[in-house]
């Protein structure tokens, strides 16, 4: 394979990994607080649709981007109400959120299928984009990609150096001890859910505003679930999530290229690739570190009045 093919492929890798990266980071934040949110797929879908809708209505992609985050927060607040207030089962509530979110986005989006909306386009970073090879791969993208480069260090700082971030982790590890230490468990879990949902919504916005620029039914196509898997692959660390997301971006980009090149492989098998890879990656990372990297209280509700 020569560089003329390889470099655009790697650039496409970063581009198609970015929506999954936002969603994975969102799920990491939520899970760190001890709440399992399996609704990522649904939240990404409503995020993608609201971004598309706002961009089409106002013409402003940045407004649309923020709107997707806010709608993502609204969507996950359902999960918060069911699990934090009403003690519902977190696994099943997340599934319900996926059903509801995907259904809602497809339902409201029906009149828009196949239409376009203004979105982000590539902006070459002055200077950096001139670096041979690397410039083309990393610094000739839309602003949402650049923003995603900044997130892992910011999140690292948040989890290790800020009071809220440390409190969030404490609540995820041992809610009873955190409460004894004077932390407000419910409030910190709400923060984990809402901030996480904001990022999941942004992930959806990346899909409709930067990746496709047009609305189709079931736009997310399982990326939300892949994000849930990547959290485990990343051992709940934002930095590792970047590599996970790009790995998947790479497979998706490669699969599209192979289909377009008319390779002698069935398209069904190519489409299967990202999901099969998710399973393989999950098996290896789980066998390697077992489950000790997970927040100890993940998925466990805190009883009222406790």
């Amino acid at each position: 394979m020569n560089f003329d093919i390889l470099i655009p492929l790697l650039a496409a890798t970063v581009l198609s990994g970015t929506p999954v990266l936002y969603a994975t980071l969102g799920e990491i934040i939520t899970e760190k607080s001890g709440v399992l949110n399996l609704g990522v797929e649904g939240v990404m879908m409503v995020g993608a649709f609201s971004a598309f809708f706002v961009a089409a209505a106002t013409g402003s992609p940045w407004l649309a981007f923020v709107a997707a985050g806010v709608v993502g927060m609204l969507a996950v607040s359902l999960h918060g109400v069911v699990c934090l207030w009403f003690q519902g089962n977190q696994v099943v509530s997340g599934l319900a959120l996926t059903l509801l979110g995907s259904g809602l986005a497809n339902y409201l989006g029906t009149p828009y299928v196949g239409t376009k909306a203004p979105g982000f386009s590539a902006v070459a970073l002055p200077g950096l984009s001139r670096i041979p090879a690397l410039g083309e791969i990393f610094f000739n993208h839309d602003p949402l990609v650049y923003l995603s480069y900044l997130l892992p260090p910011i999140l690292w700082f948040f989890f290790h150096r800020t009071g809220i971030g440390l409190g969030l982790r404490a609540v995820g590890e041992n809610p009873a001890a955190a409460r004894a230490a004077g932390l407000n468990v419910q409030r910190l879990r709400w923060i984990g859910i809402l901030v996480g949902g904001f990022f999941m919504g942004l992930g959806g916005a990346c899909l409709s505003l930067a990746y496709t620029h047009l609305w189709t039914s079931s736009l997310s196509g399982g990326r939300g679930w892949i994000a849930v898997a990547l959290v485990i692959f990343a051992f709940w660390r934002p930095g590792r999530a970047v590599f996970g997301a790009w790995l998947f971006g790479g497979v998706m980009a490669l699969q599209l290229r192979l289909q377009a090149s008319g390779a002698q492989v069935s398209s069904s098998l190519l489409l299967m690739l990202p999901y099969a890879l998710t399973v393989i990656v999950l098996v290896f990372s789980s066998a390697w570190r077992k489950s000790d990297a997970a927040p100890a209280a993940l998925g466990v509700n805190v009883e009222p009045g406790e």
Binding site: L38, G42, L78, V81, V82, W85, F86, Q87, G88, N89, V91, V92, S93, L95, A96, L97, T98, L99, L100, G101, S102, G103, L104, N106, Y107, L108, T110, S217, G222, W225, V228, A229, I232, S266, S268, L269, L271, M272, Y275, A276, T278, V279, L282, V283, S286, A287, K290, S291, E303, P304, G305
Partner: protein
């Protein structure tokens, strides 16, 4: 006035539980009604069409029963796994594998008589679905992978596997380019109960399998062990119950039932393998299992109700041009409301100071 949440000391009465569920479902219908009017459909007319279409005529009721058959079987499987807190989200994929397994037999033996080919199709379907469930279970027990994600990924893989087969080796040469397998021989088709109805023998499969499962849980040692381990897995382990084995067994049964559903559907309803038969029964089955609190009799009722909603959504689509995705919204919001309503079954809310 301050409120306090207290754990119930006595179990809620049956009437109380029904009242809680009915109000949860009414609330979610209200929410979906708001969405209907947002989409430009008058909610009252919408719900009339929905319920008339799902339950309002003999034809509608028969169609609801027909759709309830695969949902019931999948949901029975989901409930078996959920009992042991094994989160098998893969009913959709196991159902697809069942359909593939049954089709393989039907295509391989086109001249066999019914009494030979149908049992073999059922066996092959149940095995295919069971193995599709067993792989994630083995990965969970041996490699500590999360079965929720693996079973879900297996759904996507199964969809593309089915597509691959009907686009490739099993494609009917006379299909004019459509991705479908050859139509089954008459012997490989499960027929209707009588000439007067469209309801087929799959209903009898449901009843028999449901009763067998009930007997298995109530009267066998393994069934008892599964119930005990579902209550408290660690305690069961200390008591010498082979939990690892039970997890694998339970998910094999679960996948087998979903596979059986795939067999019934492909044989009785579609008569050939085609991607359009994957309409999300496996996901509806999860909603049904949770609505019924994993109870088999409840699953029978809930699968009929949700099947009716699916049929009703079809007439909404035909008569009022409401997108079919409205069905997902209905199911998702019903599930969320019922989850939230669960609080009132476990806890009671009182004014502070009283107990």
């Amino acid at each position: 006035m301050q409120l306090q949440i207290l754990k119930r000391t006595r179990r809620i009465s049956f009437q109380g539980a029904v009242a809680v569920f009915v109000s949860a479902i009414l609330l979610s219908l209200f929410f979906s009604g708001v969405l209907l009017s947002l989409g430009g459909t008058p909610p009252l007319a919408g719900f009339t069409t929905l319920f008339q279409g799902g339950f309002g005529s003999r034809w509608a009721l028969e169609d609801s029963v027909l759709k309830a058959i695969p949902i019931f079987l999948c949901s029975l499987g989901v409930a078996v796994a959920f009992r042991l807190k094994v989160w098998n989200i893969g009913a959709e994929g196991q159902y697809a594998l069942g359909a593939i397994g049954a089709t393989g037999v039907a295509i391989a033996f086109p001249d066999w008589p019914s009494w030979a080919v149908l049992p073999l199709m059922a066996l092959s379907a149940a095995c295919a679905g069971g193995i599709w469930g067993l792989i994630p279970a083995l990965l969970r027990q041996k490699m500590h992978t999360n079965e929720i994600i693996v079973t879900l990924m297996f759904n996507y893989i199964a969809v593309y596997l089915l597509q691959y087969l009907v686009l490739g080796v099993w494609r009917d040469p006379n299909s004019h380019g459509f991705a479908v397998s050859a139509t089954f021989s008459d012997a490989a088709i499960i027929g209707p109960l009588s000439g007067a109805t469209s309801i087929h023998w799959g209903l009898v499969h449901c009843i028999v399998l449901g009763i067998l499962l009930l007997l298995f849980f109530r009267y066998t040692r393994i069934g008892y062990e599964i119930r005990a381990a579902g209550e408290n897995m660690n305690a069961a382990r200390y008591a010498g119950i082979r939990v690892d084995f039970l997890v694998c067994l339970v998910i094999a049964i679960s996948g087998g039932l979903a596979g059986w559903a795939g067999f019934v559907e492909v044989s009785a309803t579609v008569n050939q393998l085609q991607p359009a038969m994957l309409v999300g029964y496996g996901y509806t089955a999860i909603v049904v299992a949770w609505l019924a609190r994993l109870n088999p009799a409840g699953i029978a009722v809930a699968s009929f109700l949700l099947a009716g909603l699916r049929v009703g959504v079809e007439s909404l689509q035909l008569d009022l041009q409401v997108p079919a995705d409205f069905g997902d919204i209905l199911e998702g919001s019903i599930l969320l409301m019922v989850l939230a309503a669960g609080l009132f079954l476990e806890y009671r809310i009182v004014r502070k100071g009283r107990t």
